[in-house]
């Protein structure tokens, strides 16, 4: 067992044990409070440029099920846990978390007091840090390097390389069994005929009355797989566009609606993308945006964003739909938030707020078929409660 160290830019050092790939990294250290779903966290492109600490202490219990990956690879620079399970136990398990991180080239550190780390980040705010196995590290050398670190233009790293189409399902059976009745066929699974997870979607509403699939353009800033799946499972044809695609190209394909995806980093680092998003805003095509997408369209229309002290990352955040007064428990992963104080109500008004701290969780654009949310209705990991927003988007496209 090799020693590993987590060093924060304020000089705090945690000593733990190394696992995963062996390399030294400097990154922004954030914590996630989800009790399950570590693989979804690892494969969420929004974590690119960050190192993630799980506050739940027992991680890796059910190993890695490739089907649950939210993108093509794992993104965080490092993974920080209290205790990594020695063995994985789950009927779908493909490999252990240790093996997975090794293959993905991601270093991990276990055995540190993750609660103490969380308390530090909560009190002092998100910080940069370093994960290393070098016992002879030098604080004098590392601290300036850590302080200089920024996530940078990380969207370009995580977006898809070229545009591609995911066809909507033709009938609900394609989605797999209904929740609760999914019987697992181990042999078929091992043959590579992947088990379909039980589906939540019970209506094939992503098609017009004439039976044509609605065409959705998904602008990929680091989209989680379940955004595409949530639309395709409802019958929509989804075309995914790389982040540097011009608005004209998207509009030329005449989509019925546009989805702006989640993604990593500071929204203000996405200068040229914001310009394209502004053009989409002006196009009158219905738009639904999630997380970074929500922040980008806000910036594109004159609003401002700021960094939260330590962000919202977890699966237990209550958001209130201001229209209905209903509260939903949501999956969240964001470090930046839209400033509502300087919001021009002729352009947009708040649609959702966070019940805990009152920060903005969604906007409704005045006079437009556009609504955007800060949280993740596509869940994975986390509560599936706000999945109805995809239906709302579909209704908007049909109007």
């Amino acid at each position: 067992m090799k020693k590993a160290f987590l060093i924060l830019e304020d000089g705090t050092v945690f000593e733990g044990t190394h696992f995963g790939a062996e390399k030294e990294i400097i990154s922004e250290i954030v914590f996630n409070t989800s009790m399950a779903g570590y693989l979804e966290v690892l494969t969420d492109p929004s974590y690119a440029g960050q190192a993630v600490c799980m506050t739940y202490p027992l991680i890796g219990n059910y190993g890695v099920c490739y089907d649950d990956m939210e993108s093509r690879q794992a993104w965080p620079d490092a993974f920080i846990v209290r205790e990594l399970s020695r063995i994985p136990s789950n009927f779908r398990c493909d490999c252990s978390l240790q093996e997975f991180l090794e293959k993905q080239g991601i270093p991990g550190i276990e055995g540190i007091d993750t609660r103490q780390l969380t308390r530090i980040l909560r009190e002092k705010g998100t910080m940069n840090g370093c994960v290393t196995t070098d016992e002879n590290y030098s604080l004098q050398e590392l601290i300036p390097k850590m302080k200089a670190y920024t996530t940078g233009k990380v969207v370009e790293k995580v977006t898809c390389l070229e545009k591609y189409l995911v066809s909507g399902v033709k009938n609900l059976k394609e989605n797999g069994p209904v929740s609760g009745l999914a019987v697992f066929d181990k042999e078929a699974y091992d043959r590579g005929e992947r088990e379909k997870r039980p589906s939540l979607v019970t209506k094939l509403n992503g098609r017009t009355d004439e039976g044509r699939a609605l065409k959705v353009a998904l602008f990929d800033f680091g989209a989680k797989k379940n955004i595409v799946s949530s639309l395709a499972a409802r019958g929509c044809d989804v075309t995914v566009y790389p982040a540097l695609t011009k608005a004209e190209e998207i509009l030329a394909d005449s989509p019925d609606g546009i989805m702006l995806s989640n993604g990593p980093g500071d929204p203000k680092d996405c200068g040229s993308i914001i310009d394209e998003v502004r053009k989409l805003y002006e196009s009158d095509v219905p738009i639904f945006a999630i997380c970074l997408g929500h922040q980008l369209i806000a910036l594109a229309t004159g609003a401002d964003t700021h960094k939260l002290k330590y962000g919202h990352r977890g699966g237990n955040h209550p958001v209130k739909d201001l229209e209905t007064g209903r509260v939903y428990i949501s999956s969240q992963n964001h470090g930046y938030v839209v400033d509502t104080e300087r919001l021009d109500e002729r352009i947009a008004v708040p649609a959702f707020i966070n019940v805990n701290d009152g920060t903005n969780e969604g906007l409704k654009y005045t006079g437009k078929n556009i609504f955007t949310v800060q949280f993740h209705p596509e869940c994975c990991p986390g509560p599936q409660d706000s999945g109805y927003l995809f239906d709302r988007f579909i209704e908007m496209m049909k109007k």
């Binding site: 914590f31 409070t33 989800s34 009790m35 399950a36 779903g37 693989l39 506050t55 739940y56 202490p57 027992l58 219990n61 059910y62 099920c65 649950d68 209290r82 205790e83 399970s85 020695r86 063995i87 136990s89 789950n90 009927f91 779908r92 007091d113 609660r115 103490q116 969380t118 308390r119 909560r122 069994p177 209904v178 929740s179 609760g180 009745l181 999914a182 019987v183 697992f184 181990k186 088990e195 997870r197 039980p198 977890g314 699966g315 237990n316 209550p318 209130k320 007064g325 209903r326 509260v327 428990i329 019940v355 805990n356 869940c379 994975c380 990991p381 986390g382 509560p383 599936q384 409660d385």
Partner: protein
């Protein structure tokens, strides 16, 4: 939505006496809810027949009725108090059923009383077997296929459509008797035939067997606006087949991926939304271990044992929030009481692992089957918190107080691998110990999993503990490596176990730990995994990392030691005392610190003491807290035997014991010291002696002459206590007592038969205050906790009472009691003998406090702090008698424990109690029986079968019942005796004789009552045992003492003449 403006007066229904499956958790929930209602300015009218509860205190509710929980009584209270609403979802199944009956009869509507919280329709949909099945089918949620059948043929036909195995559950039998799992048609025919016979309505439910699936629970909340959240999910280590109350449970789930976790969470929320529940609800799932297939097992539309556990596991106060929701508040309007920053509309995030273990009563019922089934058997439970599973499990094990502290505590090393494979098939309370041994013998994870269906992740964790044991053992003879010690402590191996395994002394281990800085730190349960700053000091220990508990200073600090898991003999009463003592210390300006490990109790609610340490109650665990907190003193006299046992160590580490000194507690328990005191004070007692071996015991017994009383010292609830009538019995009893190594000698006393008298008193060193004298209905020989107890003592005269008051004072003075003392006496004619003295609080304290209006625990606490009784406004001595009779009736849970002997003796067997209170003795007695669930007469038929010595008394008892219109059946010799005396008795055959026998009669479901007095000694009379068991299992009231039978006759004679009961508001006394 703001508070509902139509709600001003709410009647809250409690859950009644503590029985297995319905225990202290409802006092916790009810107390929390009442306080939550009062916070909103609502007047609370509380009804609960259980006097040992905190919820029945007058500072918790405005009006308190300790009355039988029956529909007519509730109707009377509603007519008298005119509440505008009732809240039935806090009193367990008992409370819920009563609320439903009131609603369905139209009574509530007629009296303009609203049902708060969940509606009647919702309750029907959740509780009715068919309604629930239909609703689940309608919303596409799967339930296990099942059908009610009335014939064996129908059962076979249905099973052929769903496949074997199937579970069979006869309708209306208690304790799951007559049920079982059938794997093939032969078994099906056999079980079904028997089940149909046992069922009162001749119906058996045939259900698809999902045993072996993962059992997962979700605690969910919903408000009237439709907002839904899950408080927590829990995974049972024991797969489906073991009642969740008897399972080892972990929170949150450990082996579910996010996909399974969210699938079940969404299902739970869908169900609670469809049911339109407002408040808390528990949903239980069976999840197929190798697929996404699941079944909804059950939904409880109310607070439950699981919700109490979830509240303590997360810090989310479910009952409090449920009460606010009932008043119309929505989740986003209710503040999170822990963070005080966020709201109740969020889901707790845990950054630790919680393990719950059941406390099973097999040490009390040694003849009972230890097998765990879908019928709950645990009387209580412990919970532990740690940041790793091994540590949480190790902490939970030692919290049980069942002489277990590690995975070697039950020794299966004598079994070879094949025997272990067989033993693994047995599902009982020792299963994890068997698994540990199987791992030591090299049986593979897969094989253990295949037999037990326990997830491999848990098996691996057990193996990590086994590996650590081995590593420690291998270091025997050499010095213990620091890193190994550090890792052992991280897994929460107690020093004593490390010392045993390494062959070192506990002192060595502690010294090594101190030297290397391996001491526990304390973390906070904050509902949010440290995301927000929490203000509530609710702590648990871990090894390694940052310490969040800080020594506070300023105020004087007192440590209040709780009483651990609820068990027979040490129940909720001690939690009542601990909580009241905490409040009293707090009022006196002390900072209060509670240590306890029982998730069902009020004392472990985070806002009772200034600080709560959720930790095992062992010397080592308590010492670690003392090291951090440095309290000015500890109080042990309120936490039952659990706290008393810690006294010696607390003194050793320099913590002053507040109140009676430890050496004086010892003097009361130590035979020789106590005899000296008795001699000095001139108080007589039954002759006796102390022994260690059966030989010595026989010598003493023969010297005294039989019968004698045999019992271990330093126990509560008369554990192991027996009346022996001959040498052979002494041998049997001594063998049983010595199965567990005894630190203290065993007592053998001459058995005296007389009236048993009990006294609780407070002594300040100069004066004594005796709130009242209680007399038992049953003669000596039956444990005081199992006797019907009457205050004020009805049949003893002033002379005896004065003598008792005098003896009590003399004993309290001689023992230098400061605080509480409890004494049991025997009165024979004009002589009074002392049976035993306990210089601590007792199980009668709550009830006597309530009926006399004298706050005994508060006074005792003031005295402990240094006040004098005279300063507290009381005249010393025996207090004037109240104008009410209060009769405490024991309540048993025999039907839940298959194979348990139900006849009463010196070892306590009751799980709870209820109170009957009235100005008239007869009415109080009737109420007490009614409260205990004895609602007679029904069929007016009874069976009498008594031992020869009781035949004389049986005649007068039978005559009374005959006069009440009872048809009396009796076995041969009893019938002959009765008929000879002119009481008409029909003779029935014994079990082994030809049909119809006494058993057929019982199974005919037309018998009200069985009076069966067993011949002396354990289990001699197999016939009697079967009669008693079958009566209990078919719901027939069974009496095993003639005094109890006479009392019942008296109560029934009274009811004939009376229509309505008089009601007493305890809060107005």
């Amino acid at each position: 939505m703001p508070k509902n403006q139509n709600v001003h007066r709410v009647m809250v229904i409690g859950s009644g006496p503590i029985v297995i499956g319905q225990a202290a958790e409802f006092d916790y929930a009810g107390t929390q809810a009442c306080r939550s209602l009062k916070e909103e300015g609502v007047e609370v009218i509380l009804v609960n027949s259980n006097p040992a509860t905190i919820m029945t205190d007058k500072n918790i509710a405005d009006k308190v009725y300790i009355e039988p929980l029956t529909v007519p009584v509730l109707e009377q209270i509603i007519e008298k108090e005119k509440p505008d609403s009732i809240l039935p979802t806090l009193g367990g199944q008992a409370g819920l059923n009563l609320g439903m009956e009131l609603e369905e009869s139209g009574f509530l509507k007629e009296h303009n009383v609203a049902l708060l919280g969940t509606t009647a329709e919702t309750i029907r949909n959740a509780e009715g077997r068919q309604e629930f099945k239909d609703l689940m089918e309608r919303i596409g949620e799967p339930v296990a296929a099942s059908k009610v059948v009335k014939t064996v043929e129908d059962g076979i036909a249905f099973t052929n459509t769903i496949g074997y195995p199937v579970v069979l559950r006869p309708a209306y039998t208690l304790g799951g008797s007559g049920g079982g799992i059938a794997h093939n048609q032969i078994e099906l025919e056999e079980i079904l035939e028997n089940g149909l016979r046992l069922s009162r309505v001749g119906e058996v439910l045939v259900e698809r067997c999902i045993a072996g699936w993962k059992e997962i629970e979700y605690e969910v909340m919903r408000d009237s606006a439709g907002n839904v959240i899950t408080v927590c999910n829990m995974e049972n280590i024991d797969p489906v087949g073991v009642h969740t109350g008897d399972s080892i449970v972990v929170a949150p789930s450990q082996t579910l991926s996010d996909k399974e976790y969210q699938m079940l969470r969404t299902s739970a929320l869908k169900i609670i939304s469809e049911l339109k529940i407002t408040g808390g609800c528990n949903v239980q799932f069976a999840l197929h271990p190798t697929s996404f297939e699941y079944c909804v097992i059950e939904v409880n539309p109310r607070v439950s044992r699981s919700s109490a556990l979830a509240s303590k596991a997360t810090g989310y106060p479910i009952a409090k929030v449920a009460a606010k929701i009932a008043l119309g508040f929505t989740l986003d309007e209710i503040k999170n009481a822990i963070t005080k920053k966020t709201y109740a509309s969020f889901e707790p995030a845990l950054d630790y692992c919680v393990v719950k273990m059941p406390r099973l009563p097999f040490d009390k019922f040694i003849t009972a089957k230890r097998t765990l089934t879908t019928q709950m058997k645990a009387t209580g439970e412990v919970m532990s918190i740690c940041n790793n599973f091994e540590g949480a499990l190790m902490k939970a094990i030692r919290s049980l107080e069942q002489h277990v502290d590690c995975l070697r505590s039950y020794d299966f090393s004598g079994l070879d691998a094949n025997e272990l494979r067989e033993r693994l098939k047995v599902v009982d309370d020792q299963r994890i110990w068997v698994i540990a041994e199987a791992l030591r013998k090299g049986i593979s994870y897969d094989e253990i999993h295949e037999i037990t269906m326990i997830d491999i992740w848990f098996i691996d964790k057990i193996n990590r503990i086994v590996e650590m044991e081995k590593a420690l053992e291998e270091s025997r003879g050499s010095s213990l490596e620091t890193e190994l010690l550090r890792e052992a402590k991280r897994m929460e191996f107690p020093d004593s176990v490390i010392a045993r395994l390494t062959g070192k002394s506990e002192e060595d281990i502690l010294a090594a730990r101190r030297r290397e800085g391996i001491t526990p730190v304390y973390k906070i349960v904050d509902t949010c995994a440290a995301e927000f700053d929490a203000e509530t000091p609710y702590y648990y220990s871990v090894y390694g990392g940052e310490n969040e508990a800080r020594e506070t200073s300023g105020k004087k600090k007192v440590l209040v030691l709780g009483s651990g898991p609820i068990r027979i003999g040490q129940g909720i009463e001690f939690d009542y005392c601990s909580v009241h003592a905490t409040w009293a210390f707090s009022k006196a300006g002390y900072e209060t610190i509670i240590i306890n490990n029982n998730p069902e109790t009020v004392s472990t609610d985070f806002d009772i003491a200034d600080k709560l340490y959720f930790e095992p109650l062992t010397n080592e665990d308590v010492e670690a807290i003392v090291d951090i907190e440095k309290p000015d003193g500890a109080v042990v006299q309120f936490g039952g035997q659990t706290a008393i046992k810690l006294t010696e160590h607390l003194m050793k580490i320099g913590v002053p014991i507040l109140g009676t000194k430890a050496e004086d507690v010892d003097a009361a328990e130590d035979r020789e010291l106590f005899d000296e005191i008795l001699q000095k004070t001139g108080i007589p007692r039954a002759a006796g002696g102390t022994v260690y071996t059966a030989q010595e015991a026989k010598e003493v017994a023969n010297r005294l002459g039989y019968p004698v009383l045999v019992r271990p010292s330093y126990v509560l609830g008369g554990q192991g206590m027996q009346i022996a009538t001959c040498d052979e019995e002494i041998e049997v009893f001594m063998e049983i007592i010595n199965r567990i190594a005894q630190d203290h000698p065993i007592l053998v006393d001459k058995y005296l038969q007389g009236k048993e008298i009990e006294v609780d008193a407070v002594c300040d060193g100069e004066d004594i205050l005796i709130p009242g004298i209680m007399e038992h209905i049953e003669r000596t020989g039956i444990h005081s906790g199992d006797s019907i107890s009457v205050y004020p003592a009805p049949t003893i005269g002033k002379l005896i009472k004065d003598k008792i008051a005098d003896y009590t004072k003399r004993l309290a003075m001689a023992l230098h009691v400061k605080g509480m003392i409890n004494i049991q006496f025997i009165a024979i004619d004009e002589d009074v003998y002392v049976i035993e003295v306990n210089p601590r609080s007792s199980r009668t304290v709550p009830y006597i406090s309530k009926v006399t209006g004298i706050p005994i625990v508060d006074l005792a606490t003031e005295v402990i702090i240094g006040k004098k009784i005279k300063e507290l406004g009381y005249k010393p001595g025996l207090q004037p008698e109240a104008e009410y009779y209060a009769i405490k009736m024991p309540v048993f849970s025999f039907e839940k424990i298959r194979g348990a002997e139900i006849s009463l003796g010196p070892e306590m067997k009751s799980t709870g109690e209820c109170l009957g209170i009235s100005k008239r003795f007869d009415e109080a007695l009737y109420k007490a029986f009614l409260g205990a669930g004895v609602q007679l007469p029904k069929h007016k038929q009874m069976i009498i079968t008594v031992k020869d010595a009781d035949k004389g008394e049986a005649i007068s008892v039978a005559r009374r019942f005959e006069k009440l219109g009872y048809i009396i059946y009796a076995t041969r010799s009893t019938a002959a005796a009765l008929n000879e005396a002119g009481v008409k008795a029909r003779k029935v055959n014994k079990i082994h004789q030809e049909s119809p026998t006494v058993m057929d009669l019982i199974l005919g479901h037309k018998i009200d009552l069985v009076i069966d007095t067993p011949t002396q000694g354990r289990d001699k009379n197999r016939d009697g045992f079967l009669i008693r068991r079958n009566s209990i299992e078919t719901g027939v009231y069974c009496i095993t003492a003639m005094d109890t039978a006479n009392a019942l006759a008296r109560a029934l004679e009274n009811v004939v003449a009376q229509e309505k009961l008089t009601l007493v508001d305890i809060a107005a006394l």
